[in-house]
Amino acid sequence: MQLLGVRLPDNHFVKHALKQFYGIGDKTALRLCARVQIHERCRVRHLNQSQVTALTAFLSSPANSPPVAVQPLAPPNYVPPPLSQPVPPPTLREGEKLPADTLREIKIESDLRRQMRENIAHQRNIGSYVGRRHAMHLPVRGQRTRSNAQTARKLNRVERYN
């Protein structure tokens, strides 16, 4: 199946297939499945149309996705109302804040690559050691260069592509 230009293998579990996206790993894939209500062992070919739409909508702009309703935790001294009355909707206590929704802040594919390139360009522009090492195609964090360092030679560029 093709999703936003990325090919997801039909026979794979969705939670594994989502890792085809640059910027989505184990954890994010699981959380994403939970968010769009896809069960753990669902395979890509078993996705229905609404799930595909939900996935596409979320991944095309995670920041603009609708916020999820998070239920605040009950305080330790919570006393439930008697069964005869309707349950009141949960409300935030004084000074209580809902945790930030980190799943909406993810960046994938070209956005993430652009961010990475901007970070390297920033280091290069201010002339820091990290920026210099990128420009020289050498390891940045003190690794040896007498041998090995092949990954750095391949990847460390000011205009890094991957």
Partner: protein
């Protein structure tokens, strides 16, 4: 600018950034005198902008002019400590 070193650097937030108090900060800013320092691990704070530093690299002092973008980095990042290898042919052989 990247998120500040307080957030990124693996250092407890309650401690704040590590920095060295330079006693002659205001004087240096007014008279444009470079501050000679060996404190490479000192974080560049927003009030350092425009200052000139002479940062020690283990051998001598490298001039560093602090700009807006450098805030949150360390002084030592701008004074390299390694010398590029260059082959020199021996004269007397």
């Amino acid at each position: 600018m990247l998120p500040t070193a307080v957030v990124q650097g693996g250092r407890s937030a309650w401690k704040g950034p590590f920095f060295v108090a330079f006693p002659n900060l205001r004087q240096a800013l007014e008279n444009n005198i470079p501050i000679k320092t060996q404190a490479r691990s000192c974080t560049i704070l927003p009030n350092f902008i425009g200052l000139r530093f002479m940062v020690h690299n283990g051998k001598d002092y490298i001039p560093v002019t602090v700009t807006q973008d450098m805030v949150g980095h360390k002084l030592g990042e701008f004074a390299i400590t390694r010398k590029r290898f260059t082959y020199k042919a021996t004269k007397n052989k």
